[in-house]
Structure formats: structure tokens, C-alpha cells
């Protein structure tokens, strides 16, 4: 839960209002200029109407240099950022040949597999030479190699389910699997802060979608009871099936899902649970098996486990794990299995090798060291930031740390000042977050050393004082925390 001070809320509204007014002025003048110069569309409707890209043109373009920064090295703990210049006031950006080496706090590199690894990379190159970068074919035609079958077994073992199926992209996994599992006449209840791929999959399935308040099992129970009692809209027939969609770690909040309570409720009301572990698999839990291990939930209670390999395994792709019948049915009906090119063989080999390192099957204890290090790093960084007075979200043990900024002007200020001090951060604003709650999101990796973190903390403290984002008083005096605050969820 985020509590925003009154003054900050006011100033944020005021800033956005001002930007909106200026944007409208400029649009008005542009309309006149267009009418004066004559349009060249010749009867076609414009491809972007009026207010659809207002946000892009008038707000986003001003701070465009904070997003999409190109890099010229692997996204490891230190990264080479390519500098860009703009000759037309930030409308377009050109690359220069200059490079600056920065501490990387933005890439999803939880276990440090992003760069070339001593165990994984030789094996990946071998599989590249054997199977070539692509099979050019769908899994069901001629795209299944022995490597793919091995990968599915290894993933199923790691996650703790009887069988698994692997796809080439995490986003497509959600969008193509949900329509195959549930259709018209079914009910989907999804968390209000779910990721865009889950929302897309739910919409594409044709089922009715209802939302429950973020991470509140009580509200979930209330919604379930109401919906079962009422039945389908208008006809009041009973629902065919009900599925509850939750995530392991929510990427914009850094919070863990309240899984034990949600699973208990779903068992009581006979709803199916779909858990998306994109950020939590490999990164939390004693042996890296995700949020089920951390919170002590039996994997047999969760019907469908989904995850991606981009974050902790340094590769690409997504998987679904469940019972053998479920996976068989997916292989028969899921469009991503039948129509999409199979996952690239070197990427598959990277996942297999990374899982072997995590489980210690490569003969060293590097995996256990990495897991311990990321836990230590996350807890250390979070507690230090909180001591300094920043407003940091997220639970303990979670490697994702959003730091609240609120005002739209602080977003580019924070990003650019940190860049001047050789620290690369990620800032997120509307529409990925609610309008008032802009934040900077920090992702800790197992490859960050203690010195890296201390340097980052120094830079944050300096920049935080400069732009005024230390909303909480720095410890040890914690008196005035509860006056004059507006609670926002």
C-alpha cells in the first residue's frame, strides 16, 4: 500500500494539468498549421486520431532519452551505454560513437546468467553448431529436436510438476494458452495489477473477466461467492469453469502474491489457479524453485504453473507446467505449439545448462552461491534505502524494488542525474503505472558485488537529496509518519 503525502499529490496533479494544457495549446497551433499547409492524406483517415497519441507526442517525447537506451555489451552488472544526441529537441535521437560504462540496475538479470558464462556458453556454442540457430519449423511439424524433449523434462523436474511444454516467447505463452483452456461460458478472475500478456490472453479467450483488488484474498472470496451465486450474465446459468489468475512477483510493486490464502480459497470454491512466475522462478526460494517453495505451497495444489526464462535463466521463452493430461491437451490444441516456430536450440541449451548450475548438477556450488547472494543483496539494498528515507515498495527477499517518485518532472531528473553519475536506472510512468504513482524500479542481480551496491547507494543518496524524493524521514527519527497522508492503493 502506498501512502502519498497531500502536498505531493497536489503538485503532481498540478504538473500533469500544466503539461496537458500546454499540449493542447501546441495541438491547436498544429491544427492551424496543418490547415494552412494543406493535408496530404488524399481521402484516407489519419492513422492516429486526435487524442490517441496525445500522450506520446506531448508528454513522452519530452523525456524520450530516458527510455530505450541502447547498450553495446551484454546486460551484465556493468554495461556499456551508447550515448545519443538529438538535433530536433528530442523528437528523434541518433546514436553516437561514444560509450559510457554504467552500473546496471535495470536489467532482469537475477542470477547473473546474462553474459557469457563459463559452464553454459561452451555448451550453447556446441548446440549451435549441431542444430543451427533455428529449426524453421513448428513444433508439430519438424521442429522438435531431442534437445526440446530434454528441455521439457528438465523444466518439469525443476518446477515440481509431472510434465511441461515450452514455447519460444513468454508473452505468447499467456496469450495463446488461456484461450485454449477457457472459453465462452467460463469466468476468469484476475488480479487488478496483472501483466499485459495475461490481460490480452484473458480478453482473447472470450470468457467473462472480473477483477479482484490487488493481493486481497478477502475480496477474491467475495467476488467468487457473488459470481457463483449469480451465474453467467443475463442467462444466470451456472459457470462452466472458473479460473483465478495471479502472479508470483508483481513486477511494478515488487510484492509477493499471498499464495497460501488464495490457493485455500480456490480449493474451497473449486476454482482453478493459474500462477504466472515470470519474475519469481529461479530468483526466490531456497533452491530457486519460485514462490511455491518460498511460501510453502504444494505444487500439486496449483493447477497451472507458467513462467518465463528471460529473467533468471538469461535466455528467452516461456513454459507451462501441469499434469500429463493437461500438457498433452496443450500439444494438441494450443496455437503457439502448432503454428509458431519452435524455440531456438541454443536458447534451449542455455536453459538446460542454467538449471543444471542452479541445482548444482554441474559439480560446483555456484548455483547455491548465486541464490544466497541475490537474497543477501536484495535485503541489504532494501534496508539501506529505507534507512535513508526513500519510499521503497516490495516484500523482503524480492529482488524487484520500486522507489516512488510521484511527480512527472522527477522522472527525467532522477534518470538523467543517475546517468551522469554512471548509474543506469529504469523509470516507469503512466500508462504502466497509475497516473500519480510514477516510480523508479531497481532490479538486483546476483552478479552485483557489495562495492557496486554501496556505490549505487551513495549516488542515490546524492541524487535523492538533489531532487527531493526522500519522502520518509531518514532513520532514526520516525515520529511524523502518520500526519496528513492520503492512502492510495
Amino acid at each position: 500500500m502506498i501512502t502519498i503525502p497531500y502536498l505531493t499529490a497536489l503538485t503532481t496533479y498540478f504538473s500533469y494539468g500544466l503539461l496537458f494544457v500546454f499540449g493542447q495549446f501546441r495541438d491547436f497551433f498544429r491544427k492551424i498549421a496543418d490547415w494552412w499547409l494543406g493535408s496530404n492524406l488524399q481521402g484516407y483517415a489519419p492513422i492516429c486520431l486526435g487524442l490517441e497519441d496525445f500522450y506520446t507526442r506531448r508528454l513522452y517525447l519530452r523525456i524520450q532519452d530516458c527510455f530505450g537506451r541502447p547498450i553495446a555489451s551484454p546486460p551484465d552488472s556493468w554495461v556499456d551505454l551508447v550515448e545519443r544526441v538529438s538535433k530536433d529537441n528530442n523528437k528523434t535521437l541518433q546514436r553516437t560513437a561514444k560509450i559510457s560504462r554504467c552500473l546496471n540496475l535495470g536489467s532482469y538479470n537475477y542470477l547473473g546468467f546474462a553474459a557469457a558464462d563459463e559452464y553454459c556458453t561452451p555448451r550453447v556454442i556446441e548446440s549451435l553448431k549441431r542444430f543451427s540457430p533455428s529449426t524453421c519449423s513448428t513444433r508439430v511439424d519438424g521442429g522438435t529436436t531431442t534437445l526440446h524433449n530434454e528441455l521439457e523434462e528438465v523444466v518439469a523436474n525443476f518446477v515440481g510438476k509431472p510434465a511441461a511444454i515450452v514455447f519460444g516467447m513468454g508473452y505468447v505463452t499467456n496469450s495463446a494458452v488461456l484461450p485454449a483452456l477457457i472459453g465462452k461460458g467460463g469466468l476468469i478472475i484476475s488480479d487488478s495489477l496483472n501483466h499485459n500478456s495475461i490481460v490480452n490472453g484473458a480478453r482473447g479467450s472470450g470468457a467473462t473477466v472480473r477483477v479482484f483488488q490487488h493481493n486481497m484474498p478477502d475480496h477474491l472470496e467475495k467476488v467468487l461467492r457473488e459470481q457463483i451465486a449469480e451465474g453467467q450474465p443475463r442467462t444466470h446459468r451456472p459457470w462452466k469453469k472458473i479460473m483465478v489468475l495471479v502472479e508470483g512477483i508483481y513486477s511494478m510493486e515488487g510484492e509477493l502474491c499471498k499464495l497460501p490464502e488464495i490457493v485455500a480459497i480456490c480449493k474451497k470454491y473449486r476454482a482453478y489457479v493459474y500462477l504466472d512466475e515470470a519474475h519469481s522462478i529461479g530468483a526466490i526460494g531456497k533452491t530457486g524453485r519460485g514462490v511455491c517453495e518460498l511460501l510453502g505451497v504444494d505444487t500439486a495444489d496449483v493447477d497451472i504453473l507458467m513462467g518465463t526464462f528471460t529473467k533468471s535463466f538469461g535466455s528467452c521463452g516461456g513454459y507451462i507446467a501441469g499434469s500429463k493430461e493437461l500438457i498433452q491437451y496443450m500439444k494438441y490444441s494450443c496455437p503457439a505449439h502448432l503454428y509458431a516456430t519452435s524455440i531456438s536450440p541454443p536458447a534451449a541449451q542455455q536453459i538446460i545448462s542454467a538449471i543444471r548450475v542452479i541445482l548444482g548438477e554441474d559439480g560446483t556450488s555456484r548455483g547455491a552461491q548465486k541464490l544466497a547472494r541475490i537474497r543477501e543483496n536484495s535485503n541489504f539494498f532494501r534496508s539501506e534505502l529505507q534507512k535513508m528515507g526513500f519510499e521503497v515498495l516490495g516484500d523482503n527477499d524480492s529482488p524487484v524494488m520500486p522507489v516512488m517518485l510521484y511527480n512527472p518532472a522527477k522522472i527525467p531528473a532522477f534518470s538523467r542525474e543517475c546517468l551522469k553519475n554512471q548509474v543506469a536506472v529504469v523509470t516507469v510512468a503512466f500508462p504502466a503505472t497509475p497516473l500519480l504513482l510514477a516510480r523508479a524500479r531497481i532490479c538486483i542481480s546476483a552478479s552485483h558485488t557489495r562495492e557496486d551496491l554501496i556505490k549505487a547507494l551513495e549516488v542515490f543518496s546524492k541524487v535523492g537529496d538533489l531532487i527531493g524524493i526522500k519522502y520518509f524521514p531518514a532513520e532514526p527519527d520516525k515520529q511524523q509518519q502518520d500526519d496528513g497522508r492520503v492512502k492510495l492503493e
Partner: protein, 483 residues
């Protein structure tokens, strides 16, 4: 008695008259004399308003009690998560043990591979492997982030520039998966209320994109220009007033479900007449059609800037993974913020982007790969002529050769069983690996199923003749019993 009542009545009326004629009743408000009777009238008006504002009688709402909800929840039983598994669901494809080139290893035996869309024979090419190895050593495998958050690596920008230069368009944008290209590009431009005219044989990704865009979708008969013209006519008649309405035609260059080629010059003529924008999916024609491999626009001699949006999955001729979308600068810039498969997903692994750049370099240096591919398709057609029970339903220039049953068994499930038997026997007995076209339960396309052969420039003439003979033999055996 009566006089007492009369007296009382008189007293009451006297009192009333007195009350109404009392001084306060003669107040002057706004220059109007208020007499006492106005109070009665005022009271009546208030009563009328009160009665009118009362709602009509409704039976009182009785929400369900907690006990009733508990009972309903107890007696509700959901359907099982998946339907019962039948035998035809248990199909397992054969597992390859080597690269998916023109020859591959299945179960220890070498087979001729017609199931990979490896049109230019770049799978296993030395230069490609070298470039990828260098890239893997430098960048590792994954890119660990979406494009907006440090997932943009300089090879991505180089790849986008290279593809744009190759096709002759101003700019291009790279997606991390071929399937997500179309179903992210369509909802970025088509919103509720827009009109889309689309061929009925398009593949699932386009259908999903149309569904997510919530626009009005109109289908026309597969590859039939007459039907397209009628649909365009109908749509323009119905929507004359809406000037802000965006109208699109969506077609594929070489249809994955049937191997037909879309007549692009005809479509461009119609588009200009009726003012529609064209979205072209060139997955199977990039690198395969046209004298230098630039796709359908070169093949039909249409200038590429007449097509508004071109998308292509790179998992076919270019022997890599991912997808690309090209068009003018406005179109591409809009997608960088509003295309969900680009913004909310991790970017393409850098070694695959390097593979794409190398593939295009190889293609530009060796245009004879295209002529070889054309020759191979011709040889296969010759080898398959006179086949019993099956007919070739694809275009003679398309690199996908699509065989359909001459006489269908009546249901697409039955057709699929016959075709699978043929494919299985061809693999077992003659070591030729072909694929049948399987449909998902979510697919809305109604075109018939068939056997697909992907011809590659790396196939030798012997390979093709062997495939032709083998198919002829097995088809004759298998279909004699089904006549």
C-alpha cells in the same frame, strides 16, 4: 342540535376567513399581492409534486442471504479443466537429432527433410554459424529486458536498419517472435469501430489480432478478387458518412494454409480506388519470391511504398527467429509505444538478430539461391504430376507445395487421418519427411487440410524426384482402399 352544529361550522369558517385575511397573509412579495388562498394552492402544488415523484410500485428487492449463497457455492460443480484425452490427441512428432537442413537424422536414419521452411538452405550455413558464435561469445544468449529498459542492443538497431535498406522502406521494427508480430501490429492500428476486410484463409495470428482489435471484420472468399471487390463496395456504401473511419485490407503474400499467392497488383488497384490501407504478411515470401528475394512487391512489380504495413516472420527463409514490421516512419514510431508485443515483452536475443543480418548479406551476395529455389519447385511439380488421389492446390511459384485430397472423406478429421497415414508411411518406408497441416481447435479457418512440402534451394534433384516417386507410390496404395 342542528343549530349547535351550524354554529360550530360558522365559527370554524369565520376562523378560517379570519386566518386567511390575517395581516401576514397580505404580504407583498416582488410587487405581487399574496392573498391567503395562495397558501392552499401552494400546498396542493406541493402534494402533486410529491405524488408524481413517487416511484411506481416495485416488489421489494431481496438479496440472497449468506446461507443461500453458501448452498449455491456447495452445489456448483465445474467442468474438468480439459476435455477427455482421445487417441488422436496423443500424436508425438518425430524428434530430430541434427540440424533441420535438407537432410536430417531421425532415429539414427538420414531422411530427406521437407518439413522445415528453410527456403534458401541457410540452416547449417558456415557464415551464419560463425557470426552467431561471435555474437554469443560477446553478448551471451538473452537480452534480459524489454526494448524500453536496456534491452535494446546495438545489433537490434543494426538489424532494423539493414532490413529496411534491403526492402527499400524508410524504417522497420523488430519483434521477438514471429507469431506475435501480426497480433500486436493489428491492434496497434485498428480500434473499435474501424473496418477490416480480410481473406478467410489467413492464419491464426492474424485472426487473434483481429479479435483483440475489436473492429468490424468482414471476410472475403479465399484469394478471390471478385469477392474482395464486392465486399469493398458493400463496406463503402454502408459507411459513407464516417470520415474518421480507418479501413484496412489484410492479406498474406503466400498463404500458409493453402500455398496460394495473393495478386498484389489487383489488390493495390482496388485499394486506391476505395481508399483502404493494406497490411501484407510476407512471412513465406521474404527471401523466396522476386528476382532478388525482396518478396511479393518485387514479384508483382508494385512499388513497395504503396503497401502501408508489411510484416514478416523471420523463421522461414532467413533461418532465424523473430519478426519484423516495416512501413513509413509514422507507422513504425507509433508501434514503439503502443504495440503490446513490443513494449511488454523482452527483446530478441542478440545472436538471432546477428543471424538475420548475416542471412540478408548472404542473400544479397548470392541471388542465384532464388533461381535455384524456383527450379527446385518446378522439378517437384514435375515429379508429383500424375499423382493419384491428391492434387496440388498451391500456386506454381510458391515455395510451399500443398497437396489436397481430390475427394474428401467428408470430415476434416477423416481427411487428416488419411493424410497422416500417407505421411507416416512415406517416412517409414522411403525416408522422406513431410508434414500434414494440423489445425488448432481455436482456428476459424475453413480451408481443407493437406500435406505441405517446403521446398529448399539446398535440395538436390535426386531428393525431389525421390520425394515425388515415394508420394505417388504411397498415395496410390493408401487411397485405393478409400475410393
Amino acid at each position: 342540535m342542528a343549530s349547535v352544529a351550524m354554529d360550530m361550522l360558522k365559527a370554524a369558517s369565520d376562523w378560517l376567513t379570519f386566518a386567511f385575511d390575517a395581516p401576514f397573509a397580505r404580504a407583498v412579495v416582488f410587487g405581487v399581492n399574496i392573498g391567503g388562498h395562495l397558501f392552499v394552492e401552494g400546498l396542493l402544488v406541493v402534494v402533486i409534486i410529491f405524488l408524481l415523484s413517487q416511484k411506481s410500485y416495485k416488489p421489494p428487492k431481496r438479496p440472497l442471504t449468506k446461507k443461500e449463497i453458501d448452498e449455491l457455492c456447495d452445489e456448483w460443480v465445474p467442468e474438468p479443466l480439459i476435455p477427455k484425452i482421445t487417441d488422436d490427441m496423443k500424436y508425438e512428432p518425430p524428434a530430430l537429432e541434427s540440424a533441420a537442413g535438407p537432410h536430417t537424422l531421425i532415429n539414427g536414419t538420414e531422411v530427406i527433410n521437407f518439413a522445415s521452411a528453410n527456403y534458401l538452405g541457410l540452416v547449417g550455413h558456415g557464415k551464419l554459424l560463425e557470426a552467431c558464435t561471435r555474437s554469443l561469445e560477446k553478448y551471451g544468449v538473452g537480452s534480459c529486458g524489454p526494448r524500453g529498459f536496456y534491452g535494446t542492443i546495438d545489433v537490434h538497431l543494426d538489424c532494423e536498419a539493414r532490413i529496411a535498406k534491403f526492402l527499400g522502406t524508410p524504417d522497420s521494427i523488430l519483434y521477438s517472435y514471429g507469431l506475435s508480430t501480426m497480433f500486436s501490429a493489428i491492434p496497434a492500428f485498428c480500434k473499435k469501430g474501424d473496418v477490416i476486410v480480410v481473406d478467410e484463409g489467413v492464419h491464426w495470428a492474424i485472426q487473434n489480432g483481429l479479435q483483440l482489435s475489436r473492429s468490424t471484420v468482414v471476410y472475403f472468399k479465399h484469394n478471390d478478387m471478385e469477392s474482395l471487390r464486392n465486399m469493398l463496395e458493400k463496406v463503402t456504401q454502408e459507411n459513407k458518412r464516417a470520415k474518421k473511419l480507418r479501413r484496412y485490407i489484410v492479406v498474406e503474400a503466400v498463404y500458409q494454409n493453402s500455398g496460394q499467392i495473393a495478386p498484389l497488383d489487383e489488390i493495390v488497384r482496388l485499394k486506391e480506388k476505395y481508399r483502404f490501407r493494406v497490411l501484407l504478411d510476407e512471412s513465406n515470401s521474404l527471401g523466396a519470391l522476386g528476382s532478388t528475394g525482396r518478396g511479393l512487391t518485387e514479384y508483382c512489380k508494385v512499388p513497395v511504398d504503396k503497401i502501408d504495413i508489411i510484416t514478416a516472420a523471420m523463421g522461414h527463409a532467413l533461418a532465424t527467429e523473430g519478426g519484423v514490421c516495416t512501413g513509413n516512419a509514422r507507422v513504425i514510431d507509433h508501434q514503439r509505444l503502443s504495440s503490446s508485443g513490443y513494449v511488454f515483452s523482452a527483446s530478441l536475443p542478440p545472436y538471432l538478430a546477428t543471424a538475420a543480418i548475416t542471412a540478408i548479406d548472404i542473400l544479397e551476395k548470392n541471388p542465384d539461391l532464388i533461381t535455384k529455389l524456383k527450379k527446385n519447385v518446378g522439378t517437384l511439380w514435375k515429379g508429383l504430376s500424375g499423382i493419384q488421389g491428391l492434387e496440388i492446390a498451391s500456386d506454381p511459384a510458391s515455395p510451399i507445395v500443398f497437396l489436397q485430397l481430390k475427394k474428401s472423406t467428408g470430415s476434416s478429421k477423416g481427411d487428416l487421418q488419411v493424410l497422416e497415414e500417407i505421411a507416416h508411411r512415406v517416412l517409414k518406408e522411403d525416408t522422406v519427411f513431410v508434414a500434414t497441416s494440423r489445425r488448432s481447435t481455436l482456428d476459424k479457418c475453413k480451408l481443407p487440410v493437406g500435406i505441405r512440402l517446403f521446398v529448399s534451394a539446398a535440395h538436390t534433384e535426386d531428393d525431389l524426384m525421390k520425394a515425388g516417386e515415394s508420394l505417388k507410390r504411397v498415395a496410390a496404395l493408401a487411397l485405393n482402399g478409400h475410393d
